[in-house]
Symmetry: D2
Subunit: 153 residues, 4 copies
């Protein structure tokens, strides 16, 4: 699946807006996740491995993959929303395809369809060991724009 | 949707097995989630509100709802699996229907179809304020039984 | 999962509106599906077995289960929408849990969350043999209301 | 999302096996769908527009998009299964992103993860008008291999 069209950015300050919103997510701090890349219609998040993020076999927990991918999708979509708007995840589906075993977990999301109210996004999740990334999960998400409702307090 | 049939338990020690597996999940400790109920084909998890679990507006993060519901589905299914088996989430889909605002988040899962290899589960997520629970998310999940592969180390 | 609240109907002529829309669906005619029950927030569809609806083993095709469940969800949601609106399926997920083998396939949908723009619905699909219904698929769907856009031509 | 690895084919006669199975699907005949391309881990289906395939506004019905995408995913996966096996859709999720308006509907599926028992597939659905294809739906599916259970009668 490829989406060749460039996305129109309606708020040139989107990066500041997205990063400010991300910084208010208590869960992202608690997981020590970082927003490592941001472009119109795209976002990447990373988190380093530690025991606090594991499932019962010592790999990254599916909940961490899901959380990272959901947030990556939300902010990929939020780059394309107007200044005075909030972002909301309507729903997502995740397929966990391989054990998420590695030093770092990476979620890369992009918008595949940018409607005014709804934006459809996919995210792929990779576990990195050294320079090798293994593909461990894929996500398909529906993100909603709440227009006229600023994301801040 | 109701599933009236009782499920057959093939391992009478299922509770010890499930609780032991749950206790090895680093993420559940990190979130301070508790496994508060367990019956054949059913599991309930709870987590108290704190800032470490929030999204940008101060409610429970969708990643917490997703993680709790996924784990509740997995262990609801695991109650019905044989002693010498592991449990694996193949995929889940979550619809976030209302802000998860309250003192406690509760995920209740049950098996709706118990195949030998795959078990299909649903979970509902509620945010509790005092004695009122508000329905905030619903999950549909596919859980896999890895037979002959003990869950422990 | 139970949803005890009655849903508010904002268009008392909802049944005429839903049935008129259903009658314009060429696919439903082609499958010979019938809209057999309609209440606020609920819809039931049925289709009799025939070879034109089979998959490779001679059971009802997953595409028939999916189509019926999608339409049932859409019209369950449409009962709660205003007169001057259109209905649109944003997305759905279906778990196929057992072979759909029988004389008739029945999809029963209900709204579990009725937001202004988005309505979340579930549907269960049963295959009926004589008086026995076997539960063969479950669906979780997101339906959208396009306000101010009449469904007719 | 890219999957660069070539998939290993364990049955050199996969095309004959897939086409024979496809030819037994009554629904595909009834919709007049054609299996227009088949490679290891990939399948394409097409269907021409006609009124029998419409929803209430005269576009291709979501049920047609879902059916085509599901079958394309199933047979993309089935190309990688052994001779003596059956193919089963466990579940799929579809996002309907734009009206499916055109002369022909095309579903292109590919395997993104090929496990022994489960194969994860995505499909994209396009509506073609003349030489222009518009992207109208995307699917994420879990397909199961039933080993030792021949697909034929």
């Amino acid at each position: 699946m490829t989406s060749k069209h460039e996305f129109a950015v309606c708020d040139p300050q989107y990066e500041r807006r997205v990063r400010e919103s991300f910084s208010r997510q208590g869960l992202m701090k608690h997981l020590e996740a970082r927003l490592t890349e941001l472009k119109p219609g795209m976002a990447e998040l990373r988190v380093a491995f530690r025991e606090e993020l594991t499932q019962q076999h010592g790999y990254f927990h599916a909940g961490v993959s899901g959380s990272l991918a959901d947030v990556a999708c939300g902010y990929a979509a939020y780059t394309l929303m107007p200044e005075d708007s909030s972002v909301l995840t309507v729903e997502y589906k995740i397929n966990l395809m391989a054990p998420a075993q590695g030093e770092e977990l990476i979620a890369r999301a992009r918008v595949v369809r940018s409607g005014k109210t709804l934006k459809i996004c996919t995210a792929d999740v990779f576990a990195r060991k050294g320079e090798t990334e293994s593909y461990c999960a894929t996500v398909l998400a529906t993100i909603m724009c709440l227009a006229g409702k600023s994301d801040g307090k």
